[in-house]
């Protein structure tokens, strides 16, 4: 049994708004081992980002609250940490990379100021030594002419360059876990490939675990070991990446995979999509959240919430019609009883 780095069980993060309680993360459980890359996929607004931010208790909005669940990182319960301990955890043991690289750096301070400041927040280190380490980190992430970039303002750098700086800062304190929240979404395709390769290389070099949030299944196939599919605040399917690729079980996963554009698609033919929109997170809770968009849905999907079951070794699905005994097949009519 490998050592667990991160264990999350029953995590619930709700947003208390004037018009109701939005269940952005509604009972998510998973764990990660040292050196693992876990991909989290799902549509926009399904709670991926909120879930990842909940790990270090860094929600963007004050109306958001982690109402239930435990997050155990490296043996310590994150919810029991004091503010100061939490601050020390952020950035040193768990680093975060955000979606839009152009807005994750403070525009009015030089790269050098921000990097040195981050190192000094975690270690007792003088500016000169810190600067040396920072420039080394910039070189590590493949920034040409790191001395010059180190002395630049963020607006003087391109988007890809900013993301490299953000990654350099993320690895600066040699974290055990990097949470990458759609790190390539805002970048062009060639830059995406480079950034993914960089993350993978750094992982090999330092043995870091990576939790990568994306809505691009291509990214998942490329770098992940395991995948978790989220829908409306819940995990609907979880498996090894090869297993999920060859043998997806949940109707939502089928829809996601069908929606992937491929080079073999007939030109001018509309891309396939999942009909409908994700449900309003203030209204979910009872039954299967995907039922309204699912062509296989029956009465039971309305009435009871599907349990997470292990259909094969390490492959979990939350669907009424998928278990070791019952088996829904994609494209065929659902003959199971509702």
């Amino acid at each position: 049994m490998e050592e667990k780095l991160l264990e999350i069980s029953g995590l619930r993060t709700y947003f208390f708004t004037k018009s109701g309680v939005a269940k952005a993360v509604d009972g998510v459980s998973f764990d990660m081992t040292q050196g693992e890359t876990l991909g989290v996929v799902g549509e926009s607004g399904c709670g991926k980002s909120v879930m990842s931010a909940s790990i270090i208790r860094l929600l963007a909005s004050k109306s958001g609250k982690i109402v239930d669940g435990t997050v155990t990182f490296n043996g310590t319960d994150v919810s029991k940490l004091s503010r100061e301990e939490l601050r020390k955890l952020r950035g040193s043991d768990v680093a975060m990379i955000f979606q839009d690289p152009m807005t994750t750096l403070d525009p009015v301070f030089k790269v050098s100021d921000q990097m040195i400041e981050m190192l000094q927040a975690h270690r007792n280190i003088d500016r000169k030594t810190a600067a040396k380490e920072c420039i080394q980190a910039l070189a590590d992430v493949g920034i040409p002419d790191p001395h010059k970039r180190f002395d630049s303002y963020p607006f003087e750098l391109s988007g890809g360059m900013c993301q490299r700086v953000a990654i350099a800062m993320a690895i600066l304190a040699r974290p055990k876990l990097i949470i990458a929240d759609e790190p390539t979404t805002a970048l062009d395709v060639t830059m995406q490939a480079q950034i993914l390769k960089l993350l993978k290389d750094l992982q090999e070099k330092y043995g870091t675990s990576i939790l990568i949030i994306t809505h691009n299944l291509g990214v998942v196939w490329q770098i992940c070991d395991n995948v978790m599919v989220m829908y409306a605040g819940k995990v609907v399917e979880k498996a090894n990446v090869r297993e999920l690729y060859s043998n997806p079980k949940h109707p939502y996963t089928w829809g996601l995979m069908d929606s992937m554009p491929s080079l073999n698609d007939t030109p001018k033919e509309p891309l396939s999509t999942i009909d409908g929109i994700p449900p309003d997170l203030r209204l979910v809770g009872k039954g299967c959240n995907f039922r309204a968009r699912c062509r296989y849905a029956k009465q039971c999907c309305e009435d009871t919430e599907p349990e997470m079951v292990e259909v094969s070794d390490g492959h979990f699905v939350a669907c009424h019609f998928q278990s070791k005994t019952t088996n829904l097949v994609k494209g065929e009519e659902n003959r199971n009883d509702g």
Binding site: L58, R87, G91, M96, D106, A121
Partner: protein, 313 residues
């Protein structure tokens, strides 16, 4: 940088010319002139005419204007009739006293206002936030003369803690000066403080919701640093522009405050000059106010460049 300063200095010339001509015309439009004031209300018209001729007031207005402007280029701002002193020296001796209360008042307003604004932005909808809203509203709507008179009534008349007027003397110790400064500064600082609080609050609210603020927290920076170093510097530009405007307003607004507290600065001098139709002094003082305003906006532009590296001129 140097080019900006040159450009601004060139812009100063038309500004000054416009201010000069407008004040010149307005002072001549007000009924009565220095000669009639000097001669007294029931004077012989011949005496007035004689005085007018002596002062050059019998010439046509354009002619008087040309003489005045050419004198200025020679460095002669005229002589005050009322004080019987060169205008230039009078202004020089009064400016420091006005700056004393306007600067002190503004610095107090800036510090307390931004503090209040930041705290209320961080604790949105708390009691301090509501206090800030009410305070900004009151500060912006209560007139200076009312606050001045009320504070004299309360602190000087009722409680007897502070002197009502004048500036005191350094011979009686530092406290004498300070106690005289307290009420005028308070009075001057309320309105700008309210403006600073409101501007800081909205600017801070915009800033703290930015991604980079969250990213800074994710990097494990101390909250104090995230707010007071990063968020504050990003929220600063609107505060600086308000500061520039307020500096101008305060300096000219000192006319009211100084009169209420009989503070011997530019303000009291200007109102005396207006009442006695002291043409040279009015023009000189207004000109000074204009130059101060232009200088302040130049300084503000330079500060902008220093805090925002994207602005390069």
């Amino acid at each position: 940088m140097i080019r900006l300063i040159w450009k601004r200095l060139l812009q100063l010339i038309p500004t000054v010319l416009i201010v000069l001509s407008v004040t010149f015309v307005i002072t001549r439009i007000i009924p009565g002139n220095p000669a009639s004031v000097l001669a007294g209300p029931e004077a012989d018209p011949r005496l007035i005419a004689e005085l007018e001729a002596k002062m050059g007031l019998d010439k046509s207005i354009p002619e008087q204007f040309l003489i005045y402007v050419s004198d200025i280029f020679k460095g002669d701002f005229g002589t005050s009739l009322n004080y019987n002193e060169p205008v230039f020296q009078l202004i020089l001796s009064r400016i420091p006293k006005t700056l004393m209360i306007t600067f002190t008042g503004l610095i107090v307003a800036l510090i307390l206002g931004t503090l209040l604004g930041t705290v209320s932005a961080l604790r949105q909808n708390s009691w301090i936030d509501h206090f800030c809203t009410v305070f900004s509203l009151l500060g912006a709507s209560l007139p200076v003369f009312w606050i001045g008179i009320m504070s004299i009534f309360l602190f000087s008349v009722k409680l007897g803690w502070l002197p009502t007027m004048g500036m005191g003397s350094i011979q009686n110790g530092l406290w004498d000066i300070l106690s005289h400064m307290l009420l005028p500064c308070l009075c001057l600082s309320l309105a700008p403080m309210a403006t600073f609080a409101r501007t800081t609050r909205s600017s801070m609210l915009d800033t703290v919701n930015n991604d980079y603020i969250r990213a800074l927290r994710a990097r494990g920076l101390k909250e104090r640093k995230v707010i007071w170093k990063h968020a504050f510097k990003n929220a600063l530009p609107p505060i600086i522009s308000v500061l520039g405007v307020q500096l101008g307003i305060c300096f000219s607004g000192a006319i009211l405050t100084e009169n209420i507290f009989s503070w011997p600065g530019m303000g009291t001098m200007i109102s005396t000059a207006i009442n006695t139709r002291d043409y040279a002094l009015i023009q000189g003082a207004i000109l000074t106010l204009a130059v101060v305003n232009v200088a302040v906006s130049l300084i503000m532009d330079i500060i902008y460049m220093l805090i925002n590296p994207k602005i390069k001129i």
